[in-house]
Assembly symmetry: C2
Homo-oligomer: 260 residues x 2
């Protein structure tokens, strides 16, 4: 039996550069790994371009369907940074330069005798009613509006901002995961047995992930990771033991990874 309620989140990645292939996103992964131990499961992610209407629509869909939403990207000082205005539009609230946000930015730039230009002031535009999120990396804050957390796009800045978020979140049951790795194991070797096991333990999510690593030119090391995820650790342990036995039965030594 799972303990605690199920709490879900969505991630909205905002930026032409992710869709064009210029930038490899790392924020979905980073945010999912941050939330998992808090008992919050990311159930959906969308990547959208820098277009206000598209951002507003996606944000309104996601915030209605999940306990929390995390946006990344588009809160810098340049013309293509339109996320703060889009969040305000989605919530139907006003937006303007706010004194507390501006003070943070002025203090930050004063340290390096950098002028706070009009464009830098734009980073103090905060939707009405939002609370600020500390940015320990470059000063300009993120913000929380209802159940939506608006973060920067640069992964190292997102990492910094997440430190000011966990105390605002109410998590549910924590999903634990364990895995069995079988070098040279092919998915099809255990697929039938795995399907039977998945039916027997409907509350445990069992995934099968083949890997192909080029250890040196032309030499591929392959195998399969079998991953079980559940909130109930007793069931999780039972499933992992059964999977390990399954791998052993086809003549491969299972390598059991510790609990995440």
């Amino acid at each position: 039996m799972a303990t605690g309620k199920r709490v879900t989140a969505a991630v909205l990645l905002i930026g032409d550069e992710v869709l064009s292939g210029r930038t490899q996103d790392r924020n979905l992964n980073q945010i999912a790994r941050f939330l998992a131990p808090l008992g919050i499961n990311v159930m959906e992610c969308r990547v959208v371009p820098d277009e206000t209407d598209v951002i507003v629509d996606a944000l309104n869909t996601l915030r209605a369907g999940h306990d929390y939403v995390f946006t990344t990207g588009g809160i810098g000082p340049t013309h293509d940074d339109i996320t703060a205005d889009a969040v305000a539009a989605a919530f139907g609230v006003g937006i303007d330069v706010r004194a507390d946000a501006l003070a943070i930015i002025e203090d930050w730039y004063a340290k390096t005798q950098t002028p706070v230009t009009e464009s830098r002031k734009r980073m103090a535009r905060i939707p009405d009613g939002a609370s600020l999120i500390v940015n320990p990396v470059t000063g300009a804050p993120g913000f929380q509006t209802g159940n939506v957390f608006t973060l920067a796009g640069v992964p190292s800045i997102v990492a910094g901002m997440l430190n000011d978020i966990d105390h605002r979140l109410e998590g549910g049951a924590v999903t634990k995961s364990r895995s069995v790795k079988g070098d040279n194991l092919r998915e099809g070797d255990v697929a039938e047995a795995l399907g039977v096991l998945a039916k027997e333990f409907p509350e445990v999510s069992i995934g099968s992930y083949p890997y192909f690593l080029e250890v040196k030119a032309g030499e591929i090391k392959r195998g399969t990771h079998l991953v079980a995820r559940a909130t109930d650790t007793d069931q999780l342990d039972q499933v992992i033991e059964r999977i390990a036995a399954m791998v052993e039965a086809v003549g491969i030594t299972p390598r059991i990874d510790p609990v995440d």
Copy 2:
């Protein structure tokens, strides 16, 4: 003036492992980079869990809104591989083991004297009316159903499958990109001038992307990439020259990257 029509694509990443943070996705980036030179712009991406209803809804939304859709993940032999059935459901067509797909799989496994079990046969389940996509890495084919291309989840297999796709696509105007890199340039140094330039060239998309690299422990190298994207190379060249001059005007040597 742009030449040729605008052709758009969406990417649907299917898999609990991407949302849980276990797996860092690389397929969106790979597919976007494959499509860009063909004149096809990825305008949306969604990541969904291994749940049939969610996959069907997302797929039907995306295939109605874009010229092409690419799905990744969930076409292996195990119980959690439900993508083929979800695609059939989305299109309202039947699905069964198909002789040509099964022959490919039987030939493939015959090479290594591997039995084609019931679960391996599942990989020959193809939605009615689909055409197969060659998988040069592990045999089991992907498939095309209307404007939807269903690919594997492992990035190296996706790369292999893309080789059997370009001849099926009709691209439009190719978006070219060029960039100016300014070490130690901060976004705010050029934000006003960049905003003016963006208004002057509405058909050129101009993005500003700060970077922070830890070159060694505790030592951060920072700067900003200014990227322009357009289908018209004359306009693109004009914009890049203006951006380079802008960076030079604040005392930083611009580094102009060649056309992508």
